[in-house]
């Protein structure tokens, strides 16, 4: 009988132990973010630099090397190239990415020599049909980019190439300043 009463008392008091934790949250900072209509800044700006959103291609710096197409494990990238007989340059005729098929693994962005194919921080892409999820980047054939030995001097292409180079620098290349910054954090 005594044990029974003790159990009842313990059960009742341990409920209040739990409730005190819940109650203390009245006085803590709330964690909830009112998405999407009451965000102080666009949600894309809150995402980290490495965020893997929709794929985008900068055709100005695409070399047409097909490295991304070969790296993709599910073949969601389709590129068609053709050699132009008159100018002897390479023409990219098709560059389609099926975003409905894409699993956002990021394997295609790693072998890209110029950082042309890259992940954006866009992720809101709901649509009514799978067809509309196929991004066709090329309307009419464009000439493939050829890396220049002296560095890029075209004022239009240079900033795009710089963005691409910064993007690939984030990958495997260990940055000199990064280990020091990460190691001394504690």
């Amino acid at each position: 009988m005594r044990e029974y009463v003790a159990n009842v008392v313990q059960a009742a008091t341990s409920i209040f132990d739990g409730l005190s934790v819940t109650f203390s949250h009245f006085f803590r900072e709330p964690y909830t973010i009112q998405y999407p209509d009451r965000m102080p800044i666009p949600v894309q700006d809150t995402l980290p630099y490495r965020y893997r959103g929709f794929l985008d291609v900068d055709l100005e710096i695409c070399t047409g090397c097909l490295a991304c197409q070969r790296a993709c494990p599910i073949d969601c990238i389709l590129i068609e190239t053709r050699k132009d007989k008159e100018t002897k340059s390479m023409l990219i005729e098709t560059f389609d990415i099926d975003l409905a098929k894409c699993m956002y693994c990021g394997l295609c962005t790693e072998p890209c020599p110029t950082g042309s194919i890259h992940h954006t921080r866009e992720f809101e892409g709901a649509d009514f049909s799978l067809e509309s999820m196929v991004r066709r980047f090329i309307k009419e054939p464009v000439t493939a980019y050829k890396p220049k030995k002296k560095g890029e001097d075209d004022p239009v292409v240079a900033p795009i190439l710089e963005r691409g180079k910064r993007y690939i620098a984030e990958f495997a290349d260990p940055k000199d300043d990064a280990p020091a910054a990460a190691g001394k954090g504690g």
Partner: protein
Amino acid sequence: MSVEIEFTDDHGSAGGFATEEMTLNMGPQHPSTHGVLRFVVKADGEVMRRAVPDVGYLHRSIEKIAEKVGWHGFMPYTDRVDYVAAMTCNQAWAMAAESLGGVEVPRRAEYCRVIAAELGRICSHLLAFGAMGMDIGAFTPFTHAIREREMINDLLEELCGARLTFNYLRIGGVAWDLPPDYAHKVLRFLDRFIPLVDEFDDLLSNNKIYIERLADVAVISPEMAIAYNLVGPNLRASGVDYDLRRDRPYSVYPDFDFTVPVGKGTWGSVGDCWERYIVRLHEMRESAKIVRQALEGLPGGPVIAKVRRNFKPPAGEVHIRVETPRGDQSWYVVSDGSERPYRVHIRTGSFSAMSIIESLSNGLMIADLVALIASLDVVAPEVDR
């Protein structure tokens, strides 16, 4: 696939009324089965005579896909083996390919792997903790657990760009180095998080009603646990002190000092549902310790070894075992020297945890089956792959 149950018992009669045992389908869509699982339950009133798990609803033939997509391309698929703790599956695949190809992994990469894997382990155990409470009927702990899990997801998102399917590891190392100021952010999170684990004790673990609900329910003896091939926290809750990270060390785990929590039978007997629950809660603290030590001892250097893009390991076979949050996950990989693996086989902890349910179910209440599944921390996609 259909499951046939043999009705061995006689149809008894009580008080002159003819009674018979009822066959119930629990699942495939059931809120407490953590995914698509089905149990065929043969019940006598509220007491079960037998519960047969019917697995296979989430089979995605991941092992077969490996034979098609090649060594590098299979890495994102390993995220889907166990999506609650994808990092450890990544690690198993990377280790298998490296051991076949003889790739030397840089030390800094190993540390990055351990940090990511242990954060993932905390993440997974938080979900197990929350789901356990929710299955029993306490909803509040789930929201607390998910709140903290979001914080870890944010950290991992910053590290690798995704919140669930990380694809962070590569054959030969990791894809990215730690972002700037990352150690500071992780340590700040851990400083906030560890007091909250003690708070979870107040919230749920020490609640008398919760203890009464779980203590001495579905007791698994150490002998039975070994016989049924239980692994990971489920095995340790039964009193078997075995952790791959300590007993068969891989990666850089020998560098770290941590204890392996083992079930002690605090409220009931060793190996009951409450022990399986509390072992996971303790493991979160230990994982936090490992992350701290890894961040302190982080060596410099490259994070990825030079691996050829068309990676072709020489012919051979390898068996890799990795301690995932759901226990010992073993990968058997055969290479024939080509650019694709010849055969991949994965044996996961959830699968062996499913097999023990049938023999435990005799005499268990139907409501206790829910507690048993939750305490075993079964993740349905890991059962089927």
